[in-house]
């Protein structure tokens, strides 16, 4: 983290670039200026595929153990210079007590100010699986009530045990809400498939009014869907019983996004269980479709 540019100035520069009429290859070149911080350690384990996702989207990725960040946490600008924060999947502290709880507490107690400032400055964040659980514990998702400049909000939602107890691994189909402010899912859909693998993914809200506000603001970019693409609560299309099929959330700016399924595990067309059939049918994509989530994030960072 030698680069101590403030994120806002970096984005201003990127925004200027984005106004130019760029060819796709230029976008990738400019994307190198987008800096992604992937936090690792304490039992998290999806760092390689998350880094690969952002790298293939053109960004510059730093894998940094959280302990290195916390050591410099006295400096409120410890996250400055990064455009995107990635909260990855895994089992932080074994998911003991509750998934994401111990890791999120550590962030809240020791990095809370830097995180709220990062968000206020327009930084982007992606949380996948354990990372989503962490963002929810931190109150960053759905993040509807926090005022600019305020400390991290209290937790407003929770990811609880799957209705069928235990870790479950399956590919799911997600219905994407095109009307969501989420920048990470722009142009994706109407559905996208990716693997889902977790034991605690059922999303519950603090109360009905909050849920209504989240739904009204279209802060649910992705929902578990059945074969026809319609949101579902039925197992196994919905692996955890999440009401309304809620699979992920974004904040009102659309820049903070978390979801239980793993776009990071669909970077290659051959990750898809039906890749041979897709190839035979001529529908095999040139890259894994999960990559589009990462590309969207990088694009949004470039656009400022």
């Amino acid at each position: 983290m030698e680069d101590k540019r403030s994120p806002s100035s970096a984005r201003t520069r990127s925004a200027a670039l984005s106004r130019r009429n760029l060819m796709p290859s230029d976008v990738v070149k400019e994307a190198r200026d987008v800096r992604v911080l992937v936090l690792t350690g304490y039992g998290l384990n999806c760092e390689a595929e998350t880094a690969a996702g952002f790298s293939r989207a053109g960004a510059t990725v730093d894998l940094v153990h959280l302990s290195e960040i916390l050591e410099r946490a006295g400096n409120a600008d410890v996250l400055a210079g990064y455009h995107i924060l990635a909260f990855i999947g895994g089992f932080s502290f074994g998911d003991h007590i509750q998934s994401g709880r111990v890791f999120a507490n550590r962030l809240r107690f020791r990095l809370g100010d830097a995180l709220s400032r990062f968000v206020d400055d327009g930084g982007l964040a992606l949380g996948v699986c354990n990372g989503f659980q962490t963002l929810v514990c931190l109150g960053l998702l759905p993040g509807v009530s926090r005022a600019r400049g305020a400390p991290l909000a209290a937790q407003q939602a929770a990811l609880v045990h799957n209705d069928r107890l235990g870790y479950f691994d399956t590919w799911v189909k997600l219905a994407v809400d095109p009307g969501s402010p989420c920048v990470w899912t722009r142009g994706v859909g109407p559905t996208i498939e990716m693997p889902s693998r977790h034991g605690e993914g059922k999303l519950l809200f603090l109360d009905e009014s909050l849920r209504d506000e989240v739904l009204a603001s279209r802060l649910v970019p992705v929902r578990y869907a059945d074969a026809s693409g319609a949101p579902t609560e039925a197992w196994p299309d919905n692996p955890n019983g999440s009401p309304g099929g809620v699979a992920g959330l974004c904040d009102p700016t659309g820049r903070i996004f978390g979801l239980m399924p793993h776009p990071d595990a669909y970077l290659y067309p051959e990750n898809h269980p039906d890749w041979i059939r897709q190839r035979d049918a001529g529908t095999l994509p040139s890259a894994g479709l999960g990559l589009r989530i990462f590309e969207n994030g990088v694009r949004a960072a470039l656009a400022g």
Partner: protein, 993 residues
């Protein structure tokens, strides 16, 4: 220092999934129907905190959205309708990984380090069951008295604040154990009572050594010798000279033992053949490191090697299925990680041989019901591997009631090793005298004491409970992450796992490299006080590695560990003194010459006599009569529902197959993703297309007829599997895992000589297969005492060999699966079919003892496989699948269910003069069912006709999107089965367990 009890439960409106699952299990297993269950988490904080701090901690760890929490006790509900309350928590000293995380959370919440521990438990509030029923539920489902304690109470209750603190204040000292003048009887008793598992000749050898030194051994020295010389560590049976007598009475001496004569020889012969053929060209030797490290290493790409190891963890899994099996997976991860200077873990595999889950007969007292063992073993390996962030790429279950005594629990790990690290070849350690000995990871407790010697004896009522360890995969994951950083920075010169035998083995083994070691056990961090020096030396407490750190790197190594919150302690120095010297502070506990420790084990010639029991085989007319009574379609449906045939997907979905994002052909394939893959394929690095291919073979039932045929069948199937997925035929390697019943003749094992002969014959078969297929054995494990005697009943496993094959692909996009691709494609069977139904699934389905074990002709099959691989290289194959248990019929069913296409096949050309049922269910080895495009069929036939290619029929469109299997013979349709009918039988959910 007060103890604070925290109770946390879900708010009433929030579902309690653990309670739901518990109620289901109590109902299914015990027929108990509670009206309602609620569960609670209990944390007993035995920490230096006050009431206000306890409240702060509670607020930090309880979920504000879905949970309610209290210090002390939460209300237990309406007093008019009181629940029975069961609390399950750990016994003193048992690993409590959750408690460790709660303590971390407390420290984060309070912003300071704390002393003491947190002890966790689970409360079940049960309504609608009598106290006696809850006691039964606790005994049979909800707790294991070897590691857990329970408390059953009814409201009103006083919050229980007793914590299972472990340890005693005073430290036992090293004791001298006199051997001089002891009779053989006394030596035998000493060996048994201390669980040394040393024989009389071994005790004599030990005594002679100390007599020569003019002194008596210490307890630590005897223990160290016992660990090092254990069957588990020294593979005595595998290395013993054997006098082998065949049924004709001819005797020959296998002087170098079966390991060198067959296992090592197979690998050396393959190495030599490769060198002669020049197959490796400029790439460098394919075999990078074999038999010399914790795992085998083969060449993969210019910058990566592949590492593979498969372990068994049978005895601990019998006592505590969850903890024992979890220890199996986290332990084998340390083996592959600690190979060379350290490898990056890539994939896990598992396989279990278990008693039938619906076992209804009486079980000897002391044994758990197989369904409970099954549940616990799965759960343990799922938690251990998933939390390690490693995808599971293979898994199998195999059932036979001879596994109720000791289940076989196989766990394996593939890793990728950079060819070079910090300028050195990664597969070599370079430990030198003067390097510091650092123990890293978990702390040492009494858990796992005598694991190595315990697994070298049979299981019985007096088996030690402390032999059970419970893994803590997160502590291990944090250690691995830190060690990977240290490796890349070149901060250490050697590393090995602390597994069986604990420090005595790990330091003892590494000391061989430098020529000696000196350790101070007083510096070893303990979980609790009061361990004797010998206990510290041999404890197998988990999540520990021993690392050799050059003195100039020590500060940096320890600093990095501290930053990553990984405990690392310098405990001694590697020397060139030729001795393993162990201190406990000022007191010398152990001083043994390495030459004696590693070379002093006396060799005993073992006797093997091949005298197969005479079996009453069903006559062919009996067989035909049994077959005539059942149409083949009905037989097939029954077959698909057999325990060893059906899907097994139910458990497998709880294993993570996707982490790392590299999987290409996953453990289950097909339209509904419920058909076990022939073999699995994954990328090894992001952005690269080279892949690793995994398959295996295991056929313990064939051992009842002939272990020679059994071993050949296992190796053959492993090879066929990886080739069917598209693996290169020139880059295969295998691991052998032998799990045998005790093969040494004794009062309790009168047929030991035959069992040892079975081992010899299996090794001969394995050797023949490996040489013919060019399949080097790169690592293995032998577990030789898989017997249990409980209540006077002895149950022994059948001789079991698992051959795990690791293959390679240049481009994973050329992988094949078993699923046919399109209507119009032609279906072929490659390989002749003969009447091989001995100990087949058909024989078990019919309840008949049949003769005719599958005979594998590896040289002929090898030519077939070369032609097959070349056909794939030429792009002629569209799908491929092996024929295994259940023969052609089961394989074709897989094809139909996976593709949801129609298959119309004729048996006319399958086998010579075989009845349709035999053609369908014979388990002849060496066969593959494959499909090709119609326009490629002539080219395919030209290549493969000399190798027994039979055109079966064609792929047809399904009916309304549903596949079917039509079987014809002699112009008649014998069966036509829709995929729905096949799947109903095949899916485990259809069967009551």
């Amino acid at each position: 220092m007060p103890i604070f009890r925290l109770e946390i439960e879900n708010r009433p409106a929030v579902p309690d999934a653990l309670a739901t699952k518990t109620a289901q299990t109590l109902s299914a297993w015990l027929g108990l129907s509670p009206a309602r269950i609620r569960t609670r988490k209990v944390y007993l904080c035995d920490l230096d905190i006050n009431e206000a701090e306890a409240q702060k901690v509670l607020a930090a760890i309880a979920d504000p959205v879905i949970e309610v929490a209290a210090t002390g006790a939460l209300p237990d509900g309406d007093s008019a309708d009181p629940p029975v309350i069961l609390t399950v928590s750990f016994l003193p000293g048992v690993t409590d990984a959750v408690g460790k995380s709660v303590k971390t959370a407390c420290e984060d919440a309070l912003g300071r380090t704390l002393t003491g521990q947190v002890y966790t438990g689970t409360m079940y509030l049960v309504w609608g069951l009598a106290r006696a029923d809850v006691e039964r539920a606790a005994a049979e489902v909800l707790h294991n008295p070897l590691i857990q304690r329970i408390r059953i109470e009814e409201p009103p209750r006083t919050p229980d604040l007793t914590v299972p603190r472990a340890g005693v204040a005073q430290t036992p000292r090293t004791e001298v154990v006199p051997l001089r003048g002891l009779s053989d009887e006394a030596l035998e008793r000493l060996s048994r009572e201390r669980l040394l598992a040393l024989s009389i000749p071994e005790m004599h050898a030990a005594r002679a050594h100390f007599e020569a030194e003019g002194r008596e051994p210490t307890d630590a020295e005897l223990e160290c010798i016992a660990q090092t010389w254990s069957e588990h560590c020294k593979h005595k049976i595998f290395n013993a000279p054997i006098d082998y007598t065949d049924p004709e009475g001819r005797t020959r001496r296998i002087e170098r033992g079966v390991f060198k004569t067959y296992v090592v020889a197979a690998t050396e012969d393959v190495r030599e053949a490769r060198a002669l053929s020049g197959i490796d060209g400029d790439a460098g030797d394919f075999l990078v490191s074999v038999f010399s490290d914790n795992a085998g290493v083969v060449r993969f790409t210019d910058d990566l090697h592949l590492v593979y190891k498969v372990e068994t963890h049978n005895s601990p899994s019998a006592l505590d299925p969850y903890g024992g099996a979890m220890t199996g997976i986290v332990g084998v991860n340390r083996d592959s990680f600690g190979c060379g200077l350290g490898a990056d873990l890539l994939a896990n595999v598992w396989g279990y041989c278990l008693g039938k889950p619906n076992h209804s007969g009486a079980l000897p007292k002391g044994l758990m019901h197989p369904r409970r063992i099954r549940e616990g073993v799965h759960h343990g390996v799922i938690d251990g591997g998933n939390q390690s962030g490693i995808p599971y790429m293979r898994g199998f279950e195999l059932f036979d009631d001879r596994f109720v005594g000791k289940p076989l629990v196989y766990c394996g790990t593939v890793a990728a090793m950079p060819v070079e690290t910090a300028g050195r070849p990664t597969h070599e350690k370079f430990t030198a005298p003067g390097d510091k000995i650092v123990m890293i990871g978990g702390r040492v407790g009494k858990d796992g004491i005598h694991g190595a010697t315990f697994s070298s004896v049979e299981l019985n009522e007096s088996s030690p409970v402390q032999a059970v360890q419970i893994g803590d995969p997160i502590t291990q994951k944090m250690m691995f992450d830190m060690l990977a950083e240290a490796r890349d920075r070149g901060l250490y010169s050697g590393i090995t796992d602390n597994g069986a035998g604990g420090l005595s083995s790990s330091v003892g083994e590494m000391a061989e490299a430098s020529g000696g070691a000196e350790v101070d056990l007083a510096r070893v961090p303990l979980k609790y006080p009061g361990l004797a020096p010998w206990e510290i030396l041999v404890s197998e407490a988990q999540e520990r590695m021993t690392v050799a750190v050059p003195p100039d790197k020590l500060e940096a190594f320890l600093a990095l560990a501290a930053r990553r919150e990984v405990e690392a302690t310098e405990i001694g120095t590697f020397t060139d003194s030729g001795r393993l010297v162990v201190w406990y502070g000022e007191e010398k506990a152990c001083d043994l010459p390495l030459v004696f420790l590693h070379g002093g084990l006396p060799k005993v010639v073992r006797t093997a006599r091949w005298s197969p029991p005479v079996r009453a085989f069903a006559s062919s007319s009996d067989r035909e009569k049994a077959l005539a009574a059942r149409p083949v379609g009905e037989l097939l449906v029954s077959m698909l529902a057999q325990p060893n045939i059906r899907s097994g997907e139910r458990y497998t979905r709880h294993y993570d197959h996707e982490v790392k994002g590299l999987a290409v052909v996953k453990p289950f394939v097909g339209v509904c993703r419920d058909i076990p893959a022939t073999a699995t394929v994954m990328r090894v690095r992001h952005g690269r297309d080279e892949g690793v291919v995994l398959g295996e073979g295991i056929h313990p039932h064939y051992s009842d007829l002939d272990t020679h045929a059994m071993a050949l069948a296992c190796a053959d199937e492993g090879v066929r599997r990886v080739l069917s997925a598209g693996a290169r035929i020139d880059r295969m390697a295998a691991l052998d895992n032998f799990c045998w019943p005790d093969p040494i003749k004794s009062a309790t094992t009168p047929d030991g000589e035959h069992k040892l002969a079975q081992l010899v014959r299996a090794c001969e078969g394995l050797y023949e297969a490996c040489v013919a297929y060019g399949l080097p054995l790169i690592s293995g494990k032998d577990s030789m005492k898989n017997d249990a005697t409980m209540g006077g009943v002895k149950i022994s496993v059948p001789p079991t060999l698992l051959v795990s094959v690791i293959g390679q692909m240049k481009d994973v996009r050329r992988a094949l699966t078993l699923a046919p691709r399109a209507p119009g494609d032609v279906v072929y069977l490659l390989g002749e079919t003969d009447d091989a139904c001995g100990e087949s699934e058909l024989s078990r389905l019919l309840g008949l003892t049949l003769d005719g074990v599958p005979r594998t002709d590896p040289r002929r099959f090898a030519a077939r496989y070369h032609a097959f691989a070349a056909a794939h290289e030429a792009g002629l194959l569209r799908s491929a699948h092996v024929l295994s248990r259940g023969g052609l019929a089961v394989a074709l069913s897989h094809l139909v269910m996976a593709s949801e296409l129609g298959l119309s096949v004729s048996l006319d050309a399958v086998g010579r003069g075989l009845s349709p049922a035999i053609a369908l269910f014979s388990e002849t080895t060496g066969r593959v069912v494959l499909t090709t495009r119609a326009e490629d069929s002539a080219a395919l036939e030209a290549r493969l006709s000399p190798h027994g290619l039979v055109r079966l029929g064609a792929v047809e469109p399904g009916v309304s999107g549903r596949g079917y299997l039509r079987i014809r013979h002699g112009g008649q349709t014998l069966a036509e089965l829709g995929s729905d009918a096949l799947r109903r039988a095949f899916q485990e959910e259809s069967h009551a367990v």
